[in-house]
């Protein structure tokens, strides 16, 4: 019998490269398949879509599992059905289901991939094969992400059908969830992989990843809160300056019209003095909030933008106008309710609540503030958000790959 060695330099070499990659894909599938969590997550995803099928909107309001909630602001008179379902998809299904619960389940599913892979006795079998360490590392990483993408695809496809069937809008943009959620997951998974490579422990890598995610969440929330209050402070300052300018103009006009009447401007002067007195405080507030906001932005710049990446779906998929209309309508309803309550209290003999100067407080729900926040958010372009996040991911993965390629197993 003669030795039949594989001629690795033959024209079939390219084919065998695919053979290796495909073998790794199939192996990863078998590994995930052996962990029932993969299928459990997939089934749960479909159940979530089915649950959303029982949320409908009509001209009177919304209906959840047959229970009707009449609300003009949340009716097809204000917001088109297709937009409503897209809002549900982008504001609830993606950030809460795919962005939190399914992500946790996916992390649990794949956190052991690298620690198991580099276990003594296992890694020897892979490294002793004719494929480079870097390729092995990259393939394992990408295949893990591929299965996350598969999960999101199934969810997006089910949502696409649901929205299409319920509203007649066959929105292909829903499939943007696949790259966006996979990207979001990859920001976390790269940390999981690095920790797994360093500690060789699935539990440690899961814990570190969750802590990192929590840190990002806290950072993003702080950034969002600061952005809102900074915008509110800016709006308040601008309105206040406008007030001072208007008062000054009135006083000047009055003085021109009746120069000999000092009492004509008494009220305006009092208001102007009060406004001038308050101005430094408002300027200080705005400057302080700007400082903190800038600080957090600097901290955030090199870190992955988890929430903002997922929020790109809303930015790209949902037209802002119907939402603003809906919000204004809700605001109007709230004001009407407040007014009715006040009238009732007055009729009962109770004293009316103290009127506060609108420009004296920071109002995050002010439509002007909301518009400014939206402008500020849109100023952070997708390229910048994804680019800086991918920069972080590449740096972390580069370090993990470097350790993997240099380590003696």
């Amino acid at each position: 019998m003669t030795t039949q060695a594989i001629d690795y330099q033959s024209p079939a070499a390219n084919g065998t490269r695919i053979t290796q990659s495909w073998a790794l894909v199939v192996d990863s599938y078998r590994e995930l398949n052996s962990k029932k969590l993969f299928w459990i997550t997939l089934i749960l995803s479909l159940l979530v879509v089915i649950a959303f099928a029982f949320v409908t909107i009509n001209d009177r309001g919304i209906s959840i599992f047959g229970a009707d909630f009449e609300n003009y602001a949340w009716s097809t008179n204000v917001i088109p059905a297709a937009t409503f379902y897209k809002v549900i998809f982008t504001s609830i299904a993606i950030p809460w289901w795919l962005g939190v619960i399914a992500t946790v389940l996916a992390l649990i599913s794949v956190c052991s991939v690298f620690p198991d892979f580099i276990t003594g006795g296992s890694i020897d079998l892979y490294l002793s094969k004719p494929l480079s360490r870097l390729r092995l590392f990259a393939t394992k990483y990408l295949v893990s992400l591929m299965f996350v993408a598969l999960q999101v695809f199934v969810f997006a496809a089910a949502s696409f059908l649901l929205i299409g069937l319920k509203s007649g809008a066959w929105e292909l943009g829903i499939f943007l969830a696949v790259p966006l959620v996979t990207l979001f997951f990859s920001y976390l998974y790269c940390v999981c992989v690095l920790t797994g490579i360093i500690t060789r422990s699935a539990l440690a890598s899961l814990l570190v990843t969750m802590l990192f995610w929590l840190f990002l969440f806290a950072l993003n929330t702080t950034d969002a809160v600061l952005m809102t209050f900074k915008s509110a402070a800016d709006v308040r300052l601008e309105e206040h300056r406008g007030l001072i300018e208007r008062n000054q103009k009135i006083i000047d006009t009055n003085q021109k019209l009746s120069p000999g009447n000092p009492t004509a401007n008494a009220g305006w002067q009092l208001q102007l003095d009060g406004a001038r007195e308050t101005l430094p405080r408002f300027e200080k507030d705005a400057a302080q909030l700007q400082w903190w906001y800038s600080l957090f932005r600097y901290i955030k710049t090199p870190l992955p933008k988890t929430g903002e990446t997922v929020d790109l779906m809303t930015r790209w998929l949902v037209e802002p106008e119907p939402l603003m209309r809906m919000h204004e309508e809700s605001q109007k309803q709230q004001d009407q309710r407040r007014e009715a309550r006040r009238n009732r209290n007055t009729a009962d003999g109770a004293p009316p609540p103290t009127q506060r100067n609108r420009s004296d407080r920071l109002d995050p729900e002010d439509p002007d503030v909301m518009r400014r926040v939206q402008q500020e958010s849109e100023g952070r372009t997708a390229v910048k958000l994804i680019g800086t996040s991918l920069g972080f991911e590449l740096a972390v993965l580069g370090l993990a790959a470097f350790i993997f390629c240099r380590r003696d197993f």
């Binding site: 019998m1 003669t2 030795t3 039949q4 060695a5 594989i6 690795y8 330099q9 079939a12 070499a13 084919g15 065998t16 490269r17 053979t19 290796q20 495909w22 073998a23 790794l24 199939v26 192996d27 078998r30 590994e31 398949n33 052996s34 276990t119 003594g120 006795g121 296992s122 890694i123 020897d124 079998l125 892979y126 490294l127 002793s128 094969k129 004719p130 494929l131 480079s132 240099r406 003696d408 197993f409």
Partner: protein
């Protein structure tokens, strides 16, 4: 000459973290088609050396070739089979799937993998368990499937790290048969084992690794050189007429006569020991005894076992140290 060697290591060194020296300049040659045994106590650097050859560990310095290519050349590994010590095949794969998967990683085309897996499952005696998950296998079954996986790419060189670890005597014999089969087809087998008797049975050449350096290397005969001998037992009383006048037939007297005849041999009673293992070298002694009419009752080649050679090397190292 270089192309005749499957492994030709000139200077392989490994130091972990700049502190712990595992290999101190290994020079080792393994010819094509040879069964080569690597032995040494725990911590001698055997597994480190095997892992360097298989690119699992990066050497601090490595001069030499494997199958004619520099040590560490990845594509060459398509022609090499490897069974690591304490290997852990994915538990979620069946035995057959494991063979297919690792065959694919060795770039074996799909159709060939299928045929090869069938053949090897038969060879290692795993036909009945091939569809069971590896996680349910006993240690012996794991070794058998591991051996089959190492052969999936029809390797020109196969490195086996403790292949009989945890295997029962029947399994050990089966594995030995597989090794002999590999040798018969011209595959170079590099064996790393603690079981010296196993190595002795199958190896053409061995190397003893002590403290990260090759203490001895060669065929068993070469290693036994100067340590083996022929032992002859002659008749206690030589036939009458062979002794000169005044010599008595008692054993003591015969001893002195034999010592005169063979000054380089040792004689104790009726036992003559000649310090050679070369059968040609012993012939003049036999001829002389026969011409003198001394009857040879028994003649036996006594060689030190591999275990004795190994222990001798270990003791020598303990006495001299390994500072080289």
């Amino acid at each position: 000459m270089a192309h005749e060697l499957s492994i030709d290591l000139r200077d392989v060194r490994k130091t972990y973290g700049g502190k712990v020296t595992a290999l101190r300049g290994i020079a080792m040659q393994v010819g094509r088609g040879e069964v080569f045994g690597l032995l040494g106590p725990n911590g001698a650097g055997k597994s480190t050396l095997v892992k360097i050859i298989m690119t699992v560990i990066r050497p601090s310095h490595a001069a030499g070739t494997v199958l004619g290519k520099p040590v560490g050349d990845k594509p060459t590994l398509a022609r090499v089979g490897y069974l690591p010590e304490h290997h852990r095949f994915p538990r979620y794969l069946s035995g057959r799937q494991a063979l297919d998967f690792f065959g694919a990683l060795s770039k074996v085309p799909r159709i060939r993998r299928r045929l090869k897996a069938d053949e090897l499952i038969e060879v290692v005696g795993m036909k009945d368990a091939a569809h069971r998950k590896v996680g349910t296998y006993s240690k012996g079954m794991m070794q058998r499937i591991g051996l089959a996986a190492a052969m999936m790419n029809d390797p020109e060189l196969i490195l086996l790290d403790e292949p009989t670890d945890g295997v029962d005597p029947v399994g050990r014999r089966d594995i030995r048969d597989v090794l002999l089969r590999l040798k018969a087809r011209g595959t170079t087998v590099f064996l790393n084992s603690h079981l010296l008797s196993e190595l002795e049975m199958v190896c053409d050449r061995v190397a003893i690794l002590l403290g990260g350096a090759v203490a001895r290397q060669g065929t068993l005969n070469e290693l036994a050189l100067g340590r083996g001998f022929y032992e002859l037992q002659v008749a206690a009383s030589p036939p009458s007429g062979t002794l000169t006048e005044g010599e008595s037939a008692n054993a003591v007297y015969m001893e002195s006569r034999l010592k005169q005849m063979f000054p380089h041999a040792t004689v104790a009673g009726d036992i003559i020991r000649v310090g050679t293992i070369d059968p040609l070298a012993i012939q003049p002694v036999v001829d002389r005894l026969r011409s003198d009419g001394i009857a040879i009752k028994r003649m036996q080649l006594i060689k030190p076992t591999l275990e004795e050679l190994f222990m001798e090397a270990v003791q020598e190292q303990a006495t001299n140290g390994v500072q080289k």
